[in-house]
């Protein structure tokens, strides 16, 4: 079975800055992989790259069988992935349900999916008809989670999925992730909330200075690499 994500010495530039300076990463289909690393390491950039939103300046990147060095393939990949990022991409004026409906429909979701997604994220009831701009931070987060859920992506890219959520919000995320994986999806997430994230993940990859290998570049997959200078090592947890 082909790997969901396969990066080899992938380099991505933001401006002139190589935010990703040679990433080697393999994620098998159905796997849950956690990206960890210091601020500015390149986790968000890596996730956006895997979503086909950023060009590959050097090296190779294959996601769900799409070769990202080819713009056309990158574009066709996008509708198959779901990205939960720092920015939500919600329309402030519209209500929670309107937002979820719009983004869901855009990806061809059925009404049931949409209603289901709203319910699953605890957004039915009062909140459903509230304009997004009046939501609390966590409620916004739940809304974009619902949008992602409604799209039923094959590859989940979660940027700090637990951030801003309360306790059962976090349990909710874990539950959704597990269910998605059972349904055949693959999950790649970045988080600083290590206890929870590591518990959730099958495997931990450490990103530092835009590389998956602490220090020397391009030294093959580094899933069990020593997590240079980060408290708990990036050991591979196999549940």
């Amino acid at each position: 079975m082909e790997p969901a994500v396969q990066l080899r010495g992938a380099v991505t530039l933001l401006g002139r800055f190589p935010a990703l300076a040679g990433i080697d990463l393999d994620v098998a289909a159905g796997e849950i992989v956690l990206l960890r690393g210091p601020n500015g390491a390149g986790k968000t950039t890596l996730l956006r790259l895997c979503a086909g939103l950023l060009p590959v300046a050097r090296g190779t990147a294959t996601v769900l069988g799409h070769n990202l060095t080819d713009r056309r393939q990158a574009r066709s990949l996008r509708r198959r992935v779901g990205l939960l990022g720092h920015a939500t991409g919600l329309y402030d004026e519209l209500t929670v349900s309107d937002n979820v409906r719009f983004w869901g429909r855009a990806a061809g979701a059925s009404s049931e999916d949409i209603v289901g997604a709203l319910a699953a994220c605890g957004l039915d009831g009062r909140l459903a008809d509230l304009a997004v701009l009046s939501l609390s931070a966590g409620q916004r987060r739940r809304t974009s989670l619902a949008c992602l859920l409604a799209r039923r992506p094959e590859l989940w890219l979660l940027d700090e999925p637990h951030a801003g959520l309360d306790q059962d919000g976090r349990d909710l995320v874990d539950g959704l992730v597990h269910r998605a994986v059972q349904a055949g999806a693959t999950v790649l997430m970045a988080s600083h909330d290590l206890d929870r994230a590591e518990a959730l993940a099958d495997r931990v990859v450490t990103v530092v200075g835009g590389t998956t290998t602490a220090g020397a570049p391009g030294a093959g997959p580094t899933d069990a690499a020593p997590a240079a200078g980060t408290p708990a090592g990036g050991v591979a947890l196999v549940p």
């Binding site: 990022g85 920015a87 939500t88 329309y91 402030d92 719009f102």
Partner: protein
């Protein structure tokens, strides 16, 4: 593609419904512009009546600028661009959808301005068919070109200021054509006006096709 267009247009119009921006702000602005011209071009000189066609279209142009800016402020809201690119909507559909929404609002603006011009500048209306045809063609052209350049400026934090200088030169033919056609219609010699109307139409078709094709490339860039 047209399904996507409908989806996007519907979304934009729903946002308009909730925020009432066009209704409560763009339309009053239109009236204001007319008044400003009235104030600036001392009425006694009868300039207003004679130049009403031109003033009408300048006013429309500025309102269009406002409407287009608004249409893309919506999208520029945080991460909206990435979201659109991931959405799975066909770029062509997005383009048509937003263009339709903008056109709808412009039509409202033009209707109001027309009434305003007639009342405030004392213009007699003649050659209605030409007037209507001109409005339709011009609106389509402005909406199409506006959407194209609007998305160019969207996401930049200098949107408000960059859009005008990108868009206005491009729209100047529309201004010229529409003004000429209107003058012809109001001057009673509609025959002179139709060729201008044709120019507007070709402009609109040109930008509609180009936009539908090129929009994907545009959205792609981040």
């Amino acid at each position: 593609m047209f399904r996507d267009a409908g989806l996007v247009a519907g979304k934009d119009l729903r946002i308009e419904l909730r925020s009432r921006v066009t209704l409560q702000q763009v339309l009053p602005f239109a009236v204001l512009v007319l008044i400003l011209f009235g104030v600036a071009l001392d009425p006694d000189r009868g300039i207003l009546t004679r130049a009403s066609a031109g003033l009408f279209w300048v006013a429309v142009l500025f309102c269009a600028l406002l409407a287009i800016q608004r249409a893309f402020t919506i999208e520029a809201a945080d991460g909206g661009r990435d979201a659109l690119r991931l959405s799975g909507l066909e770029p062509g559909g997005i383009f048509l959808g937003k263009a339709m929404a903008i056109a709808a609002q412009l039509t409202a603006v033009e209707a109001l301005l027309a009434v305003g011009v007639v009342i405030m500048y004392g213009t007699e209306v003649t050659g209605v068919p030409l007037l209507v045809a001109t409005c339709v063609a011009a609106t389509a052209g402005m909406a199409a070109a506006g959407t194209l350049y609007g998305v160019l400026a969207a996401g930049l934090r200098v949107r408000e200021t960059l859009l005008p200088i990108l868009l206005l030169p491009v729209l100047s033919p529309v201004l010229i054509g529409a003004t000429k056609a209107f003058e012809a219609a109001l001057g009673g010699v509609a025959a002179d006006g139709w060729p201008w109307c044709g120019l507007l139409l070709t402009f609109a078709l040109l930008y509609l096709t180009f936009g539908t094709l090129a929009f994907g490339t545009l959205l792609e860039e981040s």
